[in-house]
């Protein structure tokens, strides 16, 4: 009898395991769809250590047109508006500009609104527990890095609407470094008036990809040898340009593993004694490495150890 029960349980459990791999992914895909099709008006805060940033997030689908607006409510502000696959960024003290892309690069990793399947090589999708977030019942989905060089990302999804209710960058000790929490969300039949007005506005034309890409400015790929990056990171761009704020010249490299972006800057050394070290705020790490005759800085949502290893792997090409 015992043997029979054992076999029976195996038979019963096996399919459960087989489909167990998918629910987490399926929930994320549902979320991506919901975020693209629902009319909603939400407010959320991003908590980075002791700092907090409040945002308002509106989305509408009107016929075939998708409209989205995300704004940072504190300080000088930052506004991002999307009409279909054109996103315009409004920042203080600089001209607004548009990018041809179908999601806003805000505090929520863009890939979550797209096909998360491509993260499978570097991340596992794990179903977590259920809980109550923002007054709604929520299901936790964990995106766990397969190695220790990246943070994990946890997402709580609304069981009813599939929309995101909370998310967090979590390190490998299970500490939440940066949390995003919805404080209010209303899903409506009709799109918000403000978004409908957005349709009639003139936004700057998107920058052509060739201009964003290194073709016009010249690649800096041979200027430096970047010896190490965690598995899965690809070079998206390299060039030499001046930084906006302080007009310093830099060799610039942009990497991504599909989930997080990492920037590597190689610059002329600053005068004086410059200790190497890491700065962090929330999940964002800045590692400044004193390479002697040059300075390397690595910026991205990665652990300080990873940033340090990347920075120290930069050398002059042989």
């Amino acid at each position: 009898m015992k043997v029979f029960t054992f076999i029976l349980s195996l038979v019963l459990i096996a399919p459960a395991f087989a489909s167990d791999e998918n629910p987490a992914k399926a929930l994320l895909l549902d979320m991506a769809e919901a975020v693209h099709t629902r009319n909603f008006d939400a407010s959320f805060v991003v908590v980075k250590g002791q700092a907090m940033e409040p945002y308002r997030w509106l989305h509408a689908k009107q016929g075939n047109v998708e409209l989205e607006h995300l704004s940072l409510l504190n300080g000088a502000g930052l506004e991002m508006a999307r009409v279909n696959d054109q996103v315009t960024y409004f920042e203080p003290h600089s001209e607004p500009y548009s990018v041809q892309t179908d999601s806003i690069a805000g505090p929520i990793p863009e890939v979550l609104f797209k096909d998360i399947e491509r993260l499978s090589a570097q991340y596992d999708f794990v179903l977590g527990g259920k809980g109550r977030i923002a007054g709604r019942s929520a299901q936790l989905v964990r995106i766990e890095s397969k190695d220790e060089y990246k943070f994990n990302y946890w997402i709580w999804l609304d069981l009813e609407s599939s929309l995101l209710l909370k998310s967090a960058y979590v390190n490998h000790k299970g500490e939440m470094l940066e949390q995003l929490q919805l404080t209010h969300i209303s899903v409506t039949e009709q799109p918000a008036q403000m978004l409908l007005e957005m349709q009639n506005r003139d936004f700057p034309p998107p920058l052509p990809v060739s201009e964003i890409d290194n073709e016009s400015t010249g690649s800096a790929v041979n200027n430096w040898k970047i010896g190490w990056l965690p598995a899965g990171f690809k070079l998206l761009k390299s060039d030499r340009h001046k930084l906006d704020l302080n007009n310093e010249l830099t060799d610039y490299y942009l990497y991504s593993d599909g989930f997080v972006e990492v920037s590597v800057f190689v610059q002329r050394p600053l005068p004086g004694k410059r200790p190497s070290g890491a700065l962090s705020s929330g999940a964002t790490t800045v590692y400044v490495h004193n390479g002697g005759s040059f300075d390397v800085s690595v910026v991205g949502n990665i652990p300080a150890m990873t940033a340090k290893a990347i920075a120290e792997s930069v050398a002059r090409p042989l």
């Binding site: 991003v46 863009e110 704020l245 302080n246 310093e248 200790p275």
Partner: protein, 208 residues
């Protein structure tokens, strides 16, 4: 007794007199300086807020209204539902004092200094030892919290922290870090279109 003390004493008497706490005598009046008397009388009137006193007609409403008239408009939330299109905003700048900063005109004046200062360095620490990792020690330049690319960072609250920093980094490095973080945020925005175009280019190559 010094001269100042004498004066103070006199004034106390005078003040008491005006408040009706002391008997009024001719002597007292003649002895007191006329201008001091006048000033004290005025203070008393203002404090008692006497009605129909035209001498204290501090009507600054007009002056404020006038000042507001000439104040540039940075954000006009009241009009947001009926806000003019961007061309109209531009056209209006000539006549109005509207600062046509961008679509919804955020607060340009608080601006960029904040993003430069957002990683305010307050000291250098060493991460706790982690014996499992080969790179067990990482110096951590500790920061005040980052509050986003353009949130205001009060200089006054930062200043003591900076002064306390035993190994505070140079302003130059702070500026640089601010610039790097901003640049990273901006570049990350184009990451997806870049990735898409690269994938497309690779697909083309494979075809050929």
């Amino acid at each position: 007794m010094t001269k100042a003390d004498v004066n103070k004493l006199d004034n106390e008497q005078l003040s008491a007199l005006l408040d009706g706490e002391q008997q009024l005598t001719d002597e007292a009046i003649t002895n007191d300086d006329v201008t001091t008397f006048g000033r004290y009388a005025m203070i008393g009137d203002v404090m008692r807020a006497e009605a129909n006193n035209s001498a204290f007609n501090f009507d600054i409403a007009d002056a404020v209204a006038d000042a507001l008239e000439h104040e540039p408009v940075y954000a006009d939330f009241a009009n947001k539902t009926t806000a003019p299109k961007s061309e109209e905003i531009v056209a209006a700048t000539g006549t109005d004092n509207v600062v046509a900063f961008n679509w919804r005109r955020p607060f340009a004046q608080v601006a960029i200094a904040a993003s430069v200062a957002m990683f305010a360095i307050v000291g250098v620490q060493t991460l706790p030892q982690n014996s499992e990792s080969p790179q067990s020690e990482i110096p951590l330049l500790q920061t005040t919290p980052l509050t986003g690319v353009a949130s205001p960072v009060s200089y006054s609250s930062e200043q003591p922290a900076l002064e306390n920093a035993q190994q505070g980094l140079r302003e130059l490095q702070q500026q640089r870090i601010g610039a790097l973080v901003l640049e990273h945020q901006r570049q990350a925005r184009v990451a997806y279109s870049l990735e898409k175009s690269q994938t497309a280019a690779n697909a083309d190559e494979e075809k050929n």
